[in-house]
């Protein structure tokens, strides 16, 4: 049912998009035919109509956009955009003792993408400019006055305040998130790696080769490594999320229990792991469990073991230790959240259950747990996706080690996709595969989020627990 409705909404979103597009194209034609000379000229010189009609502020802003675009493309953008299809053909050479730099594939790709965005943006401005002309024409035809420049400016703090507020944040996200992500998605279709480093070497488009590599199980393919790392990532995210959830809930209930005193003290002790920066606490714990660390030291001294326990160097043990340390780090979050929520459960529910002779376990199973799962469904989902990408815990504890000969591309036994990606980028400069892994992480996260989100009781049935 949920899937079907999602499907419908997707279909309708697509059809709305094409309807809007068709309407926009029609508008452009109609406005040109019906418009006066000022409007017609504005099709080439942005904002000319508004300027001639006295809307200096709007007109000049649009004209500036056009000027900026032309300047950008002519002085800078075109040389990169024109080479985007090949990513450069002139290699860097050594002539005598001098290096003659050729094309820089990295720059071509990056600024080529930027150019494409600039073109999309200028088309949007062009369309806005046409609509603005139409609006002014209609207003004048109906004998109304156009808003003064001052009014237009002041609307930025009232009716159009959203534009003022969002301008910088949206630009920031665009330059430092959208542009890099698009760039890296495109890198996944190139052969940009340590043998093709710009500016000394060129790299070029290779189509789906990298994606084939990640699902190929023979020869040099890294398919089996990818599957193993992916599986461990999923197992880790599942265990990390649910151990923290249930143990955190248990601790919260224990502290909330009626007879227990010094509630604040217990909570404060637990919250220490949130307060202390993770790189301090995790690195210290890492050293504590090291082969020559405190734990092994004491166990040997007390004669409990003869040789050290390889907490970090044995693959299986390392995984278990990571999950245990993660409990230490993660319980306090859940404890804090659960504490507040547990108090929201009406006391009479428990009261009547007790009268009916329910034991604590039954009360937990039929009152506390359903309520908590219902309320914290979305939180569990974000925790899960957060754990899929939980870089800090893994990297500060093991850096993905111990290494394994069975895994390709220097993946270690405790590597998550995200730490593997990081190592590929930083240690091996294998950007092409790192980009593919990044896309895979996105796919996994998106699929899980979408599927689980539609299954959540609090989403399907918002009124359920009222």
């Amino acid at each position: 049912m949920a899937a079907q409705s999602a499907d419908n909404s997707k279909k309708s979103a697509v059809s709305t998009f094409f309807n809007a597009l068709g309407k926009g194209l029609k508008d452009i034609g109609v406005i040109f035919v019906e418009g006066d000379i000022k409007t017609k000229l504005s099709y080439i010189i942005f904002g000319l109509g508004p300027i001639l009609r006295g809307q200096i502020l709007t007109g000049v802003a649009m004209l500036l956009c056009e000027g900026l675009f032309i300047w950008f493309m002519a002085s800078f953008g075109w040389q990169y955009l024109s080479k985007l299809s090949t990513l450069g053909t002139i290699a860097t050479k050594k002539v005598g003792r001098k290096t003659v730099y050729g094309d820089n594939s990295f720059l071509i790709l990056l600024f080529g993408v930027l150019c494409i965005f600039a073109i999309i943006a200028i088309i949007a401005v062009w369309y806005m400019n046409i609509r603005e002309n139409r609006k002014e024409e209609l207003l004048l035809k109906n004998g109304k006055k156009l808003p003064s420049n001052k009014e237009v400016f002041l609307s930025l703090f009232d009716k159009n305040f959203d534009k003022t507020l969002l301008a910088l944040p949206v630009t920031g996200v665009f330059v430092f998130t959208v542009l890099p992500i698009v760039f890296m998605i495109l890198v996944a279709f190139t052969n940009y790696d340590k043998n093709h480093q710009s500016p000394t070497n060129l790299f070029t488009w290779v189509g789906l080769e990298n994606f084939k590599n990640i699902v190929s199980f023979s020869g040099a393919g890294i398919g089996s490594t990818f599957i193993q790392v992916l599986l461990w990532t999923l197992v880790w995210a599942f265990l990390a999320t649910f151990t923290n959830y249930f143990l955190g809930l248990a601790v919260a209930m224990l502290i909330n229990k009626k007879g227990i005193k010094f509630k604040k003290l217990w909570r404060t002790i637990l919250v220490l792991t949130i307060a202390v920066p993770q790189f301090v606490s995790l690195l210290y714990v890492m050293k504590m469990f090291a082969n020559d660390g405190l734990i092994n030291g004491y166990l040997i001294k007390w004669g409990i073991i003869k040789t050290y326990i390889p907490f970090w160097t044995d693959p299986m043990l390392a995984r278990i230790t990571i999950i245990i340390v993660n409990i230490w780090i993660g319980i306090p979050y859940m404890m804090l959240i659960a504490t507040g929520l547990l108090m929201n459960i009406p006391e009479d529910l428990y009261e009547s259950a007790r009268i009916d002779g329910a034991n604590p376990w039954q009360m937990f199973r039929s009152i506390t747990l359903p309520y908590m799962l219902f309320v914290t469904g979305p939180f569990l989902l974000t925790q899960f996706t957060g754990n899929l990408n939980n870089f800090n815990v893994i990297y500060l504890l093991t850096q993905g080690k111990p290494q394994s000969v069975n895994l390709a591309e220097k993946a270690g036994n405790t590597d998550l996709l995200i730490t593997w990606l990081y190592k590929m980028t930083v240690n091996d400069t294998n950007y092409r595969m790192a980009a593919v892994i990044g896309i895979m992480v996105f796919v996994v996260t998106a699929v899980i989020s979408l599927v689980v989100y539609n299954m959540l009781p609090s989403v399907r049935d918002e009124e359920g627990f009222q």
Binding site: F106, F176, P180, M184, P277, V280, V375, Q399, I418, L421
Partner: protein
């Protein structure tokens, strides 16, 4: 009746025992950190040992940290505070602006923007590291200029973290806005004189989260400041002490440095804990 009472006492006693065990486990690493930071570098080994309590207490490690001739620790500390300060200030402003616009105003592309940012958030952050590094390099904001570069990157993308704050704004009744608008107040005025003063808890939460993050930023900071010792933050500098094997003797110094980092951040957190709890609980329930 009596059996009920004894049962209760036993279950409470069990509860206390469990809590005490938990407390010991939770506190042990921190106690160890503090104790080992006082181990004398001169008379005992500075690396890993198999005992907790040092034989001689000394301030050697702390003296080392403050000796500018031997280490840049003080500089790293200053760098981190600079980053944390500016990120806190700017990120809070950005998040408040975005949250207000998304919570109170209805404009074309609003739902599109929210969905688009949600999808963007599913891409792993490190994917874009080399691209960001390169962008920063174009402006000279790597290596020597890493500090402003890190601030820029953290602040630029912070608009996407509006969820908790917007959730809070959504709970402020819209009727208040409408009443003010009838009285002739502009949107900007409502934002600055009504919404912001009413949002103290969420502002503190946002600022606190923003302040804590730069102290742990190892990944991107180490990439941007690579090889340029004086632009490290504490996380990068001290992580290198622990990982590089030549630095084995630096373990107790790491402990001392860790204590100095942990104390102010922990105190601040404990002091503002109430707001933090409010923020995470609200965020968790709304998702």
């Amino acid at each position: 009746m009596k059996s009920y009472k004894t049962k209760r006492t036993i279950s409470n006693a069990l509860g206390y025992i469990v809590l005490i065990i938990i407390s010991i486990i939770w506190l042990f690493p921190f106690v160890g950190l503090v104790l080992q930071s006082f181990r004398s570098y001169a008379t005992e080994y500075g690396g890993m040992v198999d005992y907790l309590v040092p034989k001689h207490f000394s301030l050697d490690n702390y003296k080392f940290l403050f000796d500018a001739g031997q280490t840049n620790y003080i500089l790293w500390y200053k760098n981190t505070i600079t980053i944390a300060f500016f990120v806190t200030l700017l990120q809070t402003i950005v998040i408040l602006c975005v949250s207000y616009a998304l919570s109170r105003m209805r404009f074309t592309g609003r739902t599109f923007l929210m969905r688009f940012w949600l999808i963007l958030g599913m891409f792993p952050g490190f994917l874009t590291m080399i691209c960001l590094y390169f962008l920063l390099k174009q402006f000279g904001l790597t290596q020597a200029g890493a500090i402003p570069g890190l601030i820029l990157v953290s602040v630029a993308s912070s608009g996407m973290g509006y969820y908790v704050c917007k959730g809070y704004f959504d709970t402020i009744p819209k009727a208040l806005d409408e009443a003010a608008r009838i009285d002739g107040a502009t949107r900007a005025r409502i934002f600055f004189t009504m919404i912001i003063p009413m949002s103290k808890p969420i502002i503190i939460y946002t600022a606190l989260v923003a302040f804590m993050a730069p102290w742990c930023d190892y990944v991107f900071a180490s990439y941007v400041a690579f090889g340029h010792d004086s632009s490290y933050n504490v996380a990068v500098g001290m992580t290198r002490w622990v990982w590089t094997n030549d630095y084995q003797g630096y373990f107790t110094r790491f402990c001392a440095g860790g204590v100095l980092v942990a104390i102010p951040v922990t105190l601040l957190f404990m002091f503002l804990q109430k707001y933090y709890v409010e923020g995470v609980t609200g965020g968790a329930v709304k998702g």
